[in-house]
């Protein structure tokens, strides 16, 4: 196997070496450390005692010294379901928007895409705080509704929108919308007007044209967008922290708290591994079915 490397091989190796070093130093080695840590346990003063036990994983699965407690399974389930609903809602909102942009006159498209990206100029955390200002009991929405109710003279009790699961969902959808719009737009933009005319010519009405031509051709974009949205939603903790009022706990929050509050790095590592495996499994199943969003459309 020890073949002499040719000049080209060396050049290739040289070119990828910065990335390679970065990946080894900042991904592979830390990952190995996390895996090793996850089999250890917490010392009374909050340090890691290295060892080889499955206690952390059993604890995540609900088996404790005091008996069965599904707390962590619920957290994992909640994270999965939130990621699922976020992705679904984001698709529902992003698709018509992307279609609108893709069918706009060519000169306007860049402006519209630019507008979609403008919110990303503001810091992530600040945008989530903005939603807090809108949704809380004395927030903008309730104040305006209260004022309107006062005008027509009906009693008004503020809606309890914050903190809640719904608020977290709204925040997530808002945060990740652009990451779905852009890939769907890329797919839709490739659809030629003549394909739609050909569909109509062959007897397809607007609905059939959508289901048989537009939707299948937009699928690669939706797959790519789903990967870009689902994976980060599974791991974030800031949105649920702020809009969930520390009541909505997701895997991301669990991991964060184990490392920072509980100082149980071993348990946190185990939770991280589980999150990674779960995300990986979902992604693999999904991409097996739909591909990686590669452009089947490009002829």
């Amino acid at each position: 196997m020890l073949k002499k490397l040719s000049r080209d091989n060396w050049r290739g190796l040289l070119l990828i070496s910065p990335t390679l070093l970065l990946m080894i130093g900042l991904l592979i080695i830390p990952l190995i450390v996390v895996v090793i840590t996850s089999f250890g346990s917490r010392s009374p003063d909050g340090n890691v005692v290295y060892g080889f036990s499955f206690d952390n994983y059993l604890r995540l699965a609900g088996f404790t010294a005091e008996g069965f407690d599904p707390l962590y399974i619920e957290i994992l389930g909640r994270s999965l379901s939130l990621a699922f609903w976020t992705t679904l809602l984001v698709i529902c909102i992003a698709f018509p928007l992307a279609y609108f942009v893709a069918r706009a006159p060519a000169g306007q498209r860049n402006i519209l895409l630019f507008l979609i990206l403008v919110p990303l100029w503001t810091n992530f955390v600040i945008r989530i705080y903005a939603w807090l200002m809108l949704l809380r009991n004395q927030g903008v929405i309730n104040s305006v509704l209260g004022w309107l109710a006062g005008l027509v003279g009906i009693p008004f009790t503020p809606f309890d929108m914050y903190p809640s699961d719904g608020a977290v969902l709204v925040g997530m959808v808002y945060e990740f919308l652009p990451f779905m719009i852009l890939p769907i737009y890329t797919s839709l933009e490739k659809i030629e007007e003549s394909w739609l005319e050909a569909a109509a010519d062959l007897g397809a009405n607007a609905f059939k044209t959508f289901t048989r031509v537009i939707f299948p051709l937009a699928l690669p974009g939706m797959v790519a967008g789903t990967i870009l949205v689902f994976i980060p939603v599974m791991g974030t903790f800031i949105v649920s922290d702020i809009l969930g009022g520390r009541q909505v706990i997701l895997v991301g929050n669990l991991i964060q708290r184990q490392f920072l509050d509980a100082r149980d790095a071993a348990f946190g590592s185990a939770a991280s591994i589980i999150l990674m495996v779960m995300t990986l499994v979902v992604t693999i199943i999904y991409t097996r079915k739909f591909g990686f969003g590669e452009e089947i459309a490009s002829a």
Partner: protein, 365 residues
């Protein structure tokens, strides 16, 4: 059975142009396309032929006038409800479907059962000489093959009318010639009315039963290929189709179809016209280069002296540019029947140019 497959009555199409002005793409067009006919709309780009075709298909609606398909007014009928199919310029095959799915799409939309659909797809692909291509993808096929698939996809639905929008434009010359004959064969086989849009006059002449020559949104002349070629009714048609020498002059006398025209340098042309002309009316005499001869022939009513300015050998023929006494430049086309292809005249030679009366057409516009 109605006589006409498609009829356009006073159809116009106007739409706002890029700077807000109104563009008239099709201007008061009336034409009747007979059942089972291979009909071509021929003209330069922007002449309104494609817009006319798109109105028949239903992709555009006429601003004025009405389109009838087998005597039924089309009105606002959307494309998917018209008994018409189209072969698009860029083929417009669906990239996410196999060839079989593409060809079967129209039948799928009409709810034809899968078994019958598969059978008809198979037959259609055989008809366009692509048997067994059902499972292939469009990107695995050449332009010529995609063109055949597009044809099969349209014809398999047995439309009342098939529209073809410059379908051979993207193919190279040799393939185009092949496909022209193939299209003609297919049309004879299926007996469906073909309406064919092209800017290629040779293509139109080769395939069509009748041709409508269009320019500036108007139909200038409709007729069989030979009529369009032999008896063009205006300068544009004579110039656009084939090659023509134009000689300006004024009418001296007319006796039935026979007209005498006085041209520059005192030359007189004995020519023919279908129209009633006035004395001293400004007219143009149009003559095809192949109707002119340097070799004398007995029937020639017109004989002019001239000097050869240029000789161009083009294989079957040689073109001679001859300057006449009135400073008119005419092109004479003589067949090369000398085995050594020696020209019958050389540059600078004084020659005589011969022309029949019937070959000289008097045009007013």
């Amino acid at each position: 059975m109605p006589e006409f497959a498609v009829e356009l009555r006073d159809v116009s199409k106007r739409f706002p142009g890029p700077s807000g002005e109104i563009v008239t793409a099709v201007n008061n067009v009336t034409m009747q396309i007979k059942d089972g006919e291979f009909f071509s709309m021929l003209g330069p780009s922007g002449c309104g032929k494609t817009t006319s075709l798109r109105m028949i298909a239903g992709f555009e609606l006429p601003t004025d006038g009405e389109i009838y398909v087998h005597d039924k007014p089309m009105g606002q009928t959307p494309p998917y409800k018209r008994p018409i199919n189209t072969v698009f310029q860029n083929y417009a095959l669906f990239p996410h479907m196999t060839i079989g799915e593409n060809v079967g799409f129209g039948m799928e939309m009409k709810g034809v059962p899968p078994a019958e659909r598969a059978e008809r797809v198979k037959k259609a692909l055989e008809m366009v000489r692509l048997p067994g291509f059902e499972k292939r993808r469009t990107r695995q096929m050449s332009g010529g093959q995609q063109q055949r698939v597009a044809l099969a996809r349209a014809l398999v639905n047995r439309p009342e009318v098939l529209l073809l929008d410059e379908p051979l434009g993207a193919l190279d010359l040799k393939l185009r010639k092949e496909m022209q004959l193939e299209l003609k064969r297919l049309q004879r086989e299926v007996g469906i009315t073909f309406i064919y849009v092209t800017h290629d006059q040779e293509e139109a002449l080769t395939m069509s039963d009748r041709i409508a020559v269009m320019n500036g949104g108007k139909v200038l002349q409709i007729g069989p290929a030979s009529e369009i070629y032999e008896r063009p009714n205006c300068k544009f048609v004579a110039d656009f189709i084939g090659e023509t020498c134009f000689l300006e002059g004024t009418v001296i006398s007319q006796n039935g179809r026979q007209v005498d025209v006085l041209m520059e340098g005192g030359l007189i042309a004995h020519a023919q016209s279908d129209a009633q002309l006035n004395k001293s009316q400004q007219v143009t005499v149009a003559i095809r280069p192949e109707k002119l001869g340097i070799r004398p022939f007995d029937s020639a009513a017109n004989i002019y002296a001239g000097r050869v300015e240029d000789v161009v050998y083009i294989g079957t023929d040689t073109h001679y540019a001859v300057r006449l006494a009135g400073n008119q430049l005419v092109r004479v086309r003589e067949q090369n029947d000398d085995p050594y292809s020696r020209p019958i005249a050389n540059v600078g030679d004084e020659v005589k140019v011969y022309c029949d009366e019937a070959a000289a057409r008097v045009l007013v516009e």
